[in-house]
């Protein structure tokens, strides 16, 4: 008998990279986050082999969530093939053995930075959003302990004040991405820096949304069928980005969220930001089999749930 035979083999990495304590802690926090929609639950947030600020929060949630039966899609700015998405997808697949896809419909778990796919998510799908700053009150209250008390008291007066100041000064809301929303009528929440175009997708959605900020060590959730309302006034409504007149140079489609590609001589052409959706439109156009799901916005720019965008039709017509 030799020591070498007796010694246990060194197990360098457990399933999903994180050690079992780390996964269990995240799972405990995720269950609480689902039970308290929109509330930021602190968690230990382990360091991962990718840099902080590059999606470590979303990645920890995904790694604790997936099992061998899952199919994972990873996007960054809507693109499956951007280098950061490719890198995260490679890491998730390497550490868990899950299959991966670019097709929103085929995915069970979708990790995303800055976008919700154009095709509607369905029951049983989980959308994991990477969050740089989970605190919607940061702009009006930089002190995190005071912001915590404001959430405890549901005291969002300063946020409304700042919205009102924008109106007085600019005649409209000037918030770009990460437009703050009220969840289940109780918690003010940052939906992560998704464009306003994607914000209504979270309202009364069939799928589960998990949001996680690795650097800031907070995770929160929007369960399915939960009210998610962008903050707005009775007479001045939240508006999504203007996509009117933009035609996708690749597919010819309209009324989807477009990337602007600047041209050398000035001006821009446009392309649909959701590359998985573009690939399927192209397949369909070439007569290849492609199952295209219903989208959040139809070809005329109407949001699928009537009444959610109170400024109905503004996406189509502008103001």
């Amino acid at each position: 008998m030799k020591l070498a035979q007796l010694a246990h083999p060194r197990q360098d990495y457990s399933y999903g990279f994180l050690d079992e304590f780390g996964k269990r802690e995240l799972r405990r926090r995720m269950l609480k986050a689902v039970a308290i929609p929109g509330h930021q639950v602190p968690y230990a947030s382990r360091e991962l082999p990718i840099a902080r600020g590059w999606g470590t929060g979303g990645l920890q949630v995904t790694l604790s969530l997936v099992g061998p039966g899952d199919t994972v899609k990873v996007i960054d700015q809507g693109a499956d093939d951007s280098v950061n998405a490719a890198n995260l997808r490679r890491f998730i697949a390497r550490m868990t053995g899950v299959s991966t896809t670019a097709d929103t419909l085929a995915a069970t778990v979708i990790q995303s930075r800055h976008r919700v796919p154009e095709e509607r998510l369905r029951e049983g799908q989980a959308l994991v959003l990477q969050v740089p700053d989970p605190e919607p009150l940061r702009r009006v209250q930089p002190d995190s302990s005071k912001a915590l008390e404001m959430h405890a008291d549901a005291d969002y007066a300063q946020m409304w004040l700042s919205l009102y100041e924008q109106l007085v000064r600019f005649g409209r809301f000037v918030q770009g991405a990460s437009y703050p929303v009220l969840v289940h009528g109780r918690y003010l929440m940052s939906p992560s820096p998704i464009p306003r175009w994607d914000t209504p997708d979270l309202h009364q959605a069939a799928h589960l949304t998990l949001l996680s900020a690795g650097r800031e060590k907070r995770l929160y959730a929007v369960p399915p069928y939960t009210d998610v309302r962008p903050i707005e006034f009775e007479d001045v409504f939240f508006q999504v980005e203007q996509m009117v007149g933009r035609v996708c140079a690749v597919t010819g489609a309209r009324n989807k969220f477009m990337d602007a590609l600047p041209l050398a001589g000035g001006g821009s052409i446009f392309r649909i930001s959701d590359t998985g959706y573009v690939a399927k439109l192209l397949d369909a156009a070439r007569g290849k089999p492609a199952t295209i799901g219903p989208t959040y916005y139809d070809d005329e720019g109407r949001f699928f749930q009537p009444g959610v965008l109170r400024d109905e039709g503004q996406a189509r017509n502008g103001r």
Partner: protein, 375 residues
């Protein structure tokens, strides 16, 4: 659009990593062992900021990252995430340290004496060009080096070395006995498993002292220095003094699960520093310690500890500001994330800007638009 390749993004990643590797010499176990042996202070810095004592792995991290310190710290921190926490060691007290260097700037002589230990503080910083020319000896010998050759011959050494419990009483003990410093509370030792832990708990401010000192122990050396220097140079209290600085070995004492007795699993290098203010009615101490030997970090961090207790601290010495912004993995990671594409959020901001311009409202849209939200 160059870096959002329509195809082949994965291939580009693999080739980029391979190219990075090709531009430094190949790695081997021997190189890692050399780094560990030849660059102990660099290894210590990575271990301190990485919050993991594992010299072999810190050397490997340095080799793998080509010496990029933030990458090396990240490698070590990420490795921690793969390892279960299996024990809580017994708390290390100053009296149990095997001290190799102990100096005080507060007094010319101190009980136990000033022990310089291993240091380059008083060396002439002259490059040993003779080494490159193959003229110098392997070590202290050879051509006259920066300082008088200090290597001691056995005959010169004290014949009766002080024992392991060589008395190096704390300078602060003398100050406390003299009524200059408040006495320490006579609290029972806390359960080592029950201490507040920044790697597990959210930090709220004012932070428990355990959170503050643990954060400083893990802090970025450069970040702690920059903020600490700000206070030394004029944004803080008037010129604190180093009360005591120690470099030491500490036993990692574990409880034997069968006998219940403690045993040492080995020794680790630690540094600690106390600073004392000199301008107030009563003396107060600032404190910091870290894994590994890193004097700049513990001096700067101890200054920050003192500053953060000031009634109206400079913004750069507010606890939340200091602890968040000296975290090396978070700060460096967030900094380099700006290399990631941000075109969706940038466009969302532009949309708001165009809409305001179109309406010809007064003023101009400033940094309030989505531009600040593109993380």
């Amino acid at each position: 659009m160059a870096y959002v390749a329509a195809r082949g993004g994965e291939q580009a990643i693999l080739r980029a990593e391979a190219l990075h590797g090709r531009l430094r010499a190949p790695l081997s176990a021997a190189i890692v062992r050399q780094i560990e042996a030849h660059l102990p202070y660099l290894v210590d810095r990575v271990m301190g900021e990485g919050s993991l004592y594992a010299p072999e792995l810190a050397a490997l991290a340095l080799a793998q990252s080509g010496g990029d310190l933030y990458e090396a710290v990240l490698l070590l921190r990420a490795y921690r995430s793969t390892q279960p926490r299996i024990a809580y060691a017994e708390p290390v007290g100053q009296e149990q340290l095997h001290t190799l260097r102990r100096i005080s700037a507060a007094f010319k002589d101190i009980p136990g004496g000033q022990i310089l230990g291993p240091t380059l503080d008083y060396s002439h910083r002259l490059l040993r060009l003779d080494l490159l020319d193959g003229l110098g000896g392997p070590e202290h010998g050879g051509a006259p080096s920066s300082s008088t050759d200090g290597a001691v011959t056995p005959a010169e050494l004290p014949q009766t070395p002080p024992g392991p419990s060589s008395p190096l009483p704390a300078v602060a003990d003398w100050q406390r006995a003299s009524g200059l410093l408040a006495t320490l509370p006579d609290a029972p030792a806390p359960d080592p498993a029950e201490l507040p832990d920044v790697t597990r708990d959210p930090v709220h401010f004012p932070a428990p002292r355990a959170h503050r000192l643990q954060s400083l122990a893990r802090a970025d050396t450069g970040g702690a220095l920059a903020l600490g220097y700000a206070s030394m140079r004029g944004y803080g209290l008037a010129h604190p003094t180093v009360n005591e600085l120690r470099l030491a070995h500490a036993d990692v004492l574990l409880r034997h699960p069968i006998t219940g007795a403690t045993f040492s699993a080995g020794r680790v290098r630690v540094s600690q520093c106390e600073v004392v203010n000199t301008s107030a009615v009563e003396l107060r101490l600032g404190y910091a310690a870290t894994l590994g030997w890193n004097e700049v970090k513990v001096i700067a961090a101890a200054m920050l500890d003192l500053e953060m207790d000031a009634p109206t601290p400079h913004p750069a010495h507010r606890e939340e500001f200091v602890l968040y912004h000296t975290e090396p993995v978070e700060s460096s990671g967030f900094c380099i994330h700006y290399k990631l594409p941000h075109y969706v959020t940038f466009q969302s901001g532009l949309d708001a800007l165009r809409a305001v311009r179109a309406e010809g409202s007064e003023g101009s849209v400033q940094a309030q638009s989505g531009a600040e939200e593109q993380a």
